[in-house]
Symmetry: C2
Subunit: 84 residues, 2 copies
């Protein structure tokens, strides 16, 4: 049951704050008409979940993956967190 | 500077485990050829960030928003976490 202990990494890729996010804006405008008030700063991005075989060099591996494949570093930034 | 203390909510919307995720599969297949080995269980979804004006009924509001607008409950599930 070693699978239960592998690190699961959640990577969030979002447009940089200075880049216009039309999808987030559309969502933010839709919310009040659906009864959701007091919501601002809506941003929409990608959420990627990966299971790694072990946690060796985890930061290096995840950062390289995100930089090379998952995010466009010109317009996007990413964060990640490790679960389990 | 009250803005600095508003709750920022990160909502992750992913396809349910039993639903095929072609984008995740494509990514998983691409990783080894780019030198990333030992990666499995890749799933790709949406990551939505919202700032709420206060944390009253936070769970109720976020759950309703996700159920009604952000996720398709037939094929997707969501999780959220609060930052700040």
């Amino acid at each position: 049951m070693a699978r239960l202990t592998v690190p699961r990494v959640h990577i969030a890729v979002l447009l940089k704050d200075e880049i216009l996010d039309p999808q987030g804006q559309a969502l933010e405008r839709a919310l009040p008409s659906l009864g959701f008030d007091g919501v601002s700063g809506v941003r929409v991005g990608k959420h990627i979940v990966v299971d790694l075989d072990d946690d060796a060099d985890l930061d290096v591996r995840v950062t390289a993956m995100a930089d090379q494949l998952l995010a466009n570093p010109v317009i996007e930034r990413f964060t990640y967190r490790v679960e389990g």
